[in-house]
């Protein structure tokens, strides 16, 4: 084999070894199997997987494979990104990158190996999900299993998406401004755009069918196929009320028309520009270029922030003498909040903007626009509070201070809560003047958000879990305008006391669990 290919293979094999040996990988496999189980309900018990209009679709291989491939594609394009978007970052963080940079391995071959590693990992996930879905079809399908139908459907749904997601992940890692927590949030918005826009544009006019090439999730392809086969534009996946009198529709399978599958396959070519951007931005672990790009990334904000910090240190901090002296739990929380403000300039900007806009704008705008924006921006910031100490290996340092180790979970919860209230207090006060119950619901939502951030952050040790799950929740909540259960913050004004109580109960459950978990870890001596 050519030595260049051998090098790419070496990077790929190491990437696979590192990913598949992670303790979370078997858990992920189990989750995929569980997802297949949940996705395909028992028809005899009234469960439904797929509706066209109000009519249930018979669970034959064509229908189950297409539905499960779509759902898998949606999840893989979102969660898959967060699973693979740490391959270059890992080499940077561990310091192995410097060793690699001093070898003759070119940047192109290094990134090609990383891309291949991402593709293999996502493909294995997709294949496991497909096998799980085939197993569920045998158990719950209404027609015999046709394995080739599954293979073809999963192939057309996943094969074009996987290289694109793999390349996008690499691009987000290599482009300085897209990397880090900000990039994680940006990707979510990128995902929502690619989820919705190709589908809407292609549905609006046949002239825009080429836009389906940018349909990474496969939703547009799915909608197009349903409309071609059944003439319907209205479909539902998952449980929904249906007309049980009507006989189930038999979905015959994909059309395999060139005008549908060619744009789908063409989306694989998006891999190239994403990869080229990644290659152009890759800094080959050069410490000088990295630090200068970090400076560029924060730039003006950082300089403004430094001015603010100087002001704080000279004017405000000497007056906060109450933070010194005999340690108390409250002082520790206040110090952690102060650290948050010092670490994240965005937090202070958010506080200032929230105060200014909440006072200037009408009440309806505070509730409809400002509060949802606050919720979205708080996600990456809150995700960092509970995870930063262990991620940056400063936990051992702060645990040597009194009252920290034993109450770490409580400290992180209250620190995140006070930080959130710094941002949210003025909007809450304004809402309370008009609608006290709405303000109480929004406050409860903030507590729920902080509890979730603490719970998921401490349990998984990574901010990614909270970022992905909560952004997904926020997205669902903000687009479900008629379901009271999702109006967790009263933003749609359909929240009920029962819903508020439900989210309070979930918050308490998460807090009690995480407090117990931290206590258990401390007893085992591994909570560093």
């Amino acid at each position: 084999m050519n030595h260049k290919l051998i090098e790419i293979r070496s990077v790929l094999l190491m990437e696979c070894a590192l990913r598949f040996r992670r303790s979370t990988t078997p858990i992920l496999f189990l989750i995929l199997c569980g997802a297949a189980f949940v996705l395909m309900p028992e028809v005899s018990s009234g469960g439904v997987m797929f509706l066209i209009g109000k009519q249930r679709v018979l669970l034959n291989s064509a229908a189950t494979s297409l539905t499960s491939a779509l759902m898998g594609g949606l999840v893989l394009s979102l969660v898959g990104y967060y699973l693979i978007s740490n391959s270059v970052e890992r080499d940077l963080r561990t310091g192995v990158g410097k060793l690699i940079a001093a070898t003759p391995l070119s940047s192109l071959r290094y990134l090609a190996g990383k891309l291949a590693g991402n593709i293999v990992y996502l493909t294995v996930m997709a294949v496991i999900f497909m096998i799980a879905c085939m197993g569920m079809h045998i158990l719950r399908g209404e027609m015999p299993l046709e394995p080739m139908v599954f293979v073809q459907t999963f192939g057309i749904m996943f094969l074009p998406s996987i290289p694109c997601i793999a390349a996008v992940a690499l691009m987000f890692e290599c482009v300085p401004i897209l990397s880090g927590r900000g990039g994680d949030v940006l990707y979510f918005f990128f995902w929502t755009i690619t989820l919705v826009f190709p589908f809407i544009l292609a549905s609006a006019s046949k002239e825009h069918a080429w836009i389906l090439a940018a349909d990474f999730t496969g939703l547009g392809f799915f909608g197009n196929e349903i409309s071609l086969v059944s003439g319907a534009h209205n479909f539902t996946i998952g449980y929904a009320p249906y007309n049980a009198v009507l006989a189930p529709i038999v979905f015959p399978g994909l059309t395999w028309l060139p005008e549908t599958y060619l744009p789908r396959l063409a989306s694989v070519f998006f891999t190239i520009p994403f990869f080229v951007i990644a290659l152009a931005a890759f800094q080959r672990f050069d410490p000088a270029r990295k630090s200068s790009s970090e400076n560029a990334k924060t730039g003006t904000i950082a300089r403004l922030w430094q001015t603010g910090i100087s002001f704080w240190v000279r004017i405000v901090a000497p007056r906060s003498g109450w933070l010194t002296g005999h340690p108390s739990f409250f002082k520790t929380i206040a110090l952690d909040v102060r650290l948050t403000l010092a670490l994240y300039p965005m937090f202070v900007i958010l506080i200032a903007s929230s105060v200014i806009f909440s006072l200037l704008f009408p009440m309806s705008a505070v509730r409809d626009s400002i509060l949802p924006i606050i919720f979205f921006i708080l996600v990456p910031l809150l995700a960092s509070i509970s995870t930063r100490d262990r991620q940056r290996k400063t936990a051992a340092l702060i645990f040597s201070a009194p009252l920290v180790r034993e109450r770490f979970a409580a400290l992180k919860f209250f620190s995140a809560l006070f930080s959130t209230l710094l941002v949210g207090c003025i909007p809450l006060v304004r809402i309370s003047l008009d609608d006290p119950f709405g303000a109480a619901a929004a406050l409860n939502a903030m507590i729920f958000m902080v509890s979730a951030a603490t719970f998921l952050g401490l349990l998984t040790g990574t901010p990614i879990t909270f970022i992905v799950l909560f952004l997904l929740f926020l997205y669902t909540a903000s687009s479900s305008r008629t379901l009271p259960a999702f109006d967790f913050a009263g933003l749609h004004r359909i929240v009920t006391p029962a819903i508020v109580l439900f989210y309070t109960a979930v918050s308490i459950f998460m807090l009690v669990t995480v407090l117990g978990f931290e206590k258990w870890r401390m007893k085992r001596g591994d909570n560093l």
């Binding site: 030595h3 051998i6 090098e7 070496s10 990077v11 094999l13 190491m14 070894a17 590192l18 040996r21 992670r22 963080r93 561990t94 310091g95 192995v96 410097k98 060793l99 690699i100 940079a101 001093a102 070898t103 003759p104 391995l105 070119s106 080959r284 672990f285 050069d286 410490p287 000088a288 270029r289 630090s291 200068s292 400076n295």
Partner: protein, 287 residues
């Protein structure tokens, strides 16, 4: 073998890490000595092509490494100060991986290198179970796996126990017979034991370069010892360039360097390399 000509590294922030630095080295062990922030690590990062110089050039075996970085990379062994390892693979897998990237695909070679750093018994053990010293030895092994013509090691003995340190120093001496080894450390005794030449850096500039004996000779007649009371020591310590101070029953035994303002009662002492280093970095102005 290695020629550095008027090398300068200026960061965008304006900080000059290396300032018009020139050096010529042939096979042997060259020690780099200097205080924190002197530019040792930046200099090494430029030689290993990790970062680019702002101006000047580096020639290795007459090849400009900026124009042909792979020439030096394929003949290079590099152990950075803050390197890391993949925790969830075995030492053998990790070394095979980095060896493979350097064109070494022989399992036997990988085992030989692991043996040279005394890790052969743990070759198939996960790296996450290794102690800090074992990881450091694995780092040394990856630097040696391709029999480099140029070995650059930054603080390699940090974390090694005394026995392993001696073993590593012997290894460097052996390598230095045919290859060029550039070795940066704060442990002056390590340099004294292996370096044929020592280059002293301060604020990005080369202050001096010479054999350990030449460096040492610059300190003759400038090292002193005195026994004084604790109170007197408190008064004197800001005025003296103290290299060591030990509290004993008869008072504080102070060793200091300098040629002016020597207190009465101080006796001349035999200098060591640490004294010479202190004199050079504290006293001399970079030229």
């Amino acid at each position: 073998m290695l020629t550095i000509e008027s090398l300068t590294k200026r960061y965008r922030t304006g900080t000059v890490a290396i300032d018009n630095f020139s050096l010529q080295c042939s096979a042997g062990v060259v020690g780099l000595l200097g205080p924190n922030g002197a530019g040792k690590t930046t200099l090494m990062q430029m030689i290993v092509t990790l970062t680019r110089p702002t101006s000047g050039r580096i020639l290795f075996l007459d090849h400009d490494i900026r124009r042909d970085p792979n020439f030096v990379r394929s003949r290079l062994g590099y152990l950075p100060q803050d390197f890391g390892v993949y925790e969830s693979v075995t030492a053998f897998a990790f070394l095979s991986y980095l060896g493979g990237l350097k064109g070494i695909h022989s399992r036997q070679k990988v085992m030989e290198v692991l043996e040279s750093v005394n890790l052969h018994a743990s070759a198939h053990v996960m790296v996450k179970t290794f102690s800090g010293g074992m990881k450091q030895r694995l780092g040394i092994a990856q630097a040696l796996v391709n029999d480099p013509d140029l070995l650059i090691v930054d603080e390699p003995t940090a974390g090694l126990d005394p026995e392993e340190r001696i073993r590593f120093r012997n290894l460097l001496t052996t390598l230095g017979r045919n290859s060029l080894v550039i070795f940066s450390t704060h442990i002056v005794s390590d340099l004294a034991a292996v370096a044929g030449r020592i280059a002293v850096l301060k604020k990005g500039k080369l202050i001096t370069i010479g054999t350990p004996e030449e460096i040492l000779s610059s300190a003759f007649g400038k090292v002193w010892e005195i026994v004084i009371s604790s109170t007197e020591f408190e008064n004197q310590k800001s005025k003296l360039r103290v290299s060591s101070a030990v509290q004993k029953a008869d008072g504080v035994h102070v060793r200091f360097v300098g040629s002016d303002g020597i207190p009465r009662g101080a006796a001349a002492a035999e200098p060591d390399l640490e004294d010479a280093y202190l004199l050079l970095t504290e006293g001399a102005r970079p030229s």
